[in-house]
């Protein structure tokens, strides 16, 4: 413990080649990839932003990951979903599937839009990004279950969930549903687009799974006081 504190206090020296690793020294700060932040002139910065900028002049910054860009097309939710879909480090394939999914969703919606009469055109949502965000939002559980051991028995106790955990569960359910419960010969992007479109309208197996979790939590209300945090 003394050694780790001493490590923090030793002077930082730059490496020969920068490397992006998850185990950075906590001294390092996260990079700012949004271009608009750098366009704000010094006079309009709020006091916290000024402080942050001061700090960045003295502290080292982590290297930016290769999967993020400074373009407004970059979406952190989509990047997280791609990382969760990735198998054996094949990011190229995972990204390809994601872009094909977005394209399929857009094609289906735009086709519906062009064939619909003028009155219904306003109601059809064609943006695949809003559909994806809304579908994941609809799949997020509000409350979760934890297994707590009391008196030799294990009880499923309803607990509040952190936002990151909720998003993780929604994405995980979506991916496992598409991998396991659909017909073997359909492509992943086809399965994903169908499931996302039904989740957008609050139908489908993933929404059902979320509701089942809520019902279980409701049924185990009595054990809620077993939670001590």
């Amino acid at each position: 413990m003394v050694a780790s504190i001493a490590n923090l206090l030793k002077p930082w020296t730059p490496r020969l080649c920068a490397v992006r690793w998850s185990r950075y020294n906590p001294y390092y700060l996260e990079p700012e990839t949004d271009k608009d932040v750098y366009k704000i002139p010094d006079t309009e910065l709020s006091p916290e932003q000024k402080e942050e900028k001061e700090l960045k002049t003295t502290r080292p910054i982590k290297a930016a990951a290769t999967s993020i860009t400074s373009s407004p097309f970059n979406d952190p939710v989509i990047s997280k979903f791609i990382n969760m879909m990735m198998q054996d480090g094949n990011k190229v394939l995972a990204r390809e599937i994601m872009t094909q999914t977005l394209e399929t969703i857009k094609r289906k919606q735009v086709e519906k839009y062009h064939r619909a009469p003028a009155a219904e055109k306003e109601a059809i949502e064609c943006n695949p990004y809003t559909i994806f965000q809304q579908a994941i939002e609809n799949c997020k559980p509000v409350i979760g279950l934890a297994s707590i051991q009391k008196g030799g028995k294990n009880y499923q106790v309803p607990i509040p969930l952190k936002d990151s955990r909720r998003r993780f569960l929604a994405m995980k359910w979506m991916i496992t549903e598409c991998r396991e419960n659909k017909h073997r010969r359909t492509h992943m992007y086809e399965k994903l687009s169908q499931e996302l479109l039904s989740a957008f309208t609050n139908e489908g197996n993933v929404i059902k799974r979320k509701h089942d979790l809520h019902k279980m939590a409701e049924a185990n209300r009595a054990y809620a006081h077993y939670r001590w945090w």
């Binding site: 373009s71 407004p72 097309f73 872009t99 094909q100 977005l102 394209e103 857009k106 094609r107 735009v110 086709e111 839009y113 062009h114 064939r115 064609c126 943006n127 695949p128 990004y129």
Partner: protein, 396 residues
């Protein structure tokens, strides 16, 4: 007295008197001229749907292919991504571009009593060669030509499940399925010609089947469609008949447009193997052999429109796009002399037109892609290549 100035002022007053008298007429003429001349504001669509009337004025604008004739015009000619786009947008819009206009002008001015001219559309991958060819074929069919369209010659030299030894010649191989599909599509495109053209020779298929001289071409095609084993030979006979009868002086004369997409397949390598695992050369395939005879410029009364394609080609690097690289020595010698027509990436005006078309069809959904910065980013990412732009905009 300053005579020149006085003279000048006299002329000015005379002109103003003249113009005020004709004021009414001038306005009318201005109104009449405006719809024909495209305004400075970018216009991406044109209402001129007849390729016969397309001129430089329409360059960079989209025209709609008539949905009623789509099935007969292009049963098999359009690229798959374009077909998906047609289904999504509920319409088929093609951009009028410089290479296609040039080819149409050449076809209009050509002398059809001379041997057929060969045109080769070449360019980098994804810059619009196949769609330019489809535009020109639309023009040919509106002019009443007989269109012989081979959508992709590469499909005939690879992935063939059934390779039968030829029934008529000992060293050749037949491809029944490919020949059958092509004959069916040919029948759909050229229905009205099938009853008018007659055969000039007796063809014997088997001991019991033959097509007599003077029978309509439709019978020949039906023979190929019903008897799959002899379909490749039927294709050869069909090509021979059309070659002999195109551009005759008779009243039933027609002009023949031979369109081959991916012509470099005819002189490249194949991936097909014989039973003893040795490679099949392209000239040992009946379909390829007969098509090569068609591409020789020893017949009159038509034109040969071809496209080079690296996309389906075998054993050629992705960066190859010039005729010499893709056709090889043998192909170039066979195709020489030809009229090369380069197809390039979108110009500024064409890119603008494409962008506006996608906006109009509600295809660009991401809010950033609709801004100026987003447009610049799209130009940078696609470097104005039509197919890369289409794939980018698909998921944005």
């Amino acid at each position: 007295m300053n005579l020149p100035r006085l003279y000048h002022r006299l002329r000015l007053t005379a002109r103003s008197l003249h113009s005020s008298a004709n004021g009414q007429q001038v306005e009318k003429v201005a109104v009449a001229v405006d719809p024909d001349v495209p305004s400075q504001v970018s216009v991406f669509r044109t209402s001129e749907n007849d390729p016969t009337c397309h001129t430089e004025l329409h360059a960079g604008q989209y025209y709609t292919l008539p949905p009623a004739h789509m099935r007969t015009l292009f049963p098999h000619g359009l690229p798959p991504r374009f077909q998906m786009q047609m289904k999504t947008f509920n319409e088929a819009c093609v951009m009028v571009r410089q290479p296609a206009l040039e080819l149409i002008t050449c076809l209009r001015k050509a002398d059809y009593s001379e041997p057929a001219l060969r045109y080769v559309l070449y360019g980098e991958k994804g810059c619009g060669k196949t769609l330019s060819l489809c535009h020109v074929l639309h023009f040919c069919s509106t002019q009443g030509w007989l269109v012989l369209h081979i959508p992709d010659a590469h499909l005939w030299v690879k992935n063939c499940r059934e390779l039968l030894p030829s029934s008529s010649r000992p060293g050749r191989f037949d491809q029944p399925i490919q020949a059958l599909n092509w004959l069916k599509n040919f029948k759909t495109t050229n229905e009205h010609f099938l009853s008018k053209i007659k055969t000039t020779q007796r063809y014997v298929w088997t001991k019991r089947e033959s097509t007599e001289e003077g029978r309509p071409l439709g019978e020949l095609v039906d023979q190929g469609v019903s008897r799959v084993k002899s379909s490749s030979d039927v294709v050869g006979a069909l090509l021979r008949e059309l070659r002999l009868q195109a551009g005759g002086a008779a009243e039933g004369a027609f002009r023949l447009a031979v369109a081959v997409d991916g012509v470099n397949a005819l002189w490249g390598k194949t991936t097909l193997k014989k039973e003893d695992k040795s490679e099949v050369l392209p000239e040992e395939l009946t379909l390829i052999h007969n098509l090569r005879k068609m591409l020789r410029n020893d017949w009159c009364g038509g034109a040969i429109l071809t496209t080079l394609s690296q996309t389906g080609s075998l054993f050629k690097p992705r960066s190859a796009y010039l005729p010499m690289e893709l056709l090889g020595e043998e192909g170039f010698d066979n195709m020489d002399p030809f009229v090369p027509i380069p197809v390039s990436n979108y110009s500024d005006k064409e890119f603008e037109s494409c962008y506006l078309y996608y906006l109009d069809r509600n295809w660009l959904q991401h809010p950033h892609s609709r801004t100026e910065d987003g447009k610049k980013e799209l130009i940078f990412l696609s470097s104005r290549n039509p197919s890369i732009l289409e794939r980018l905009c698909a998921f944005l």
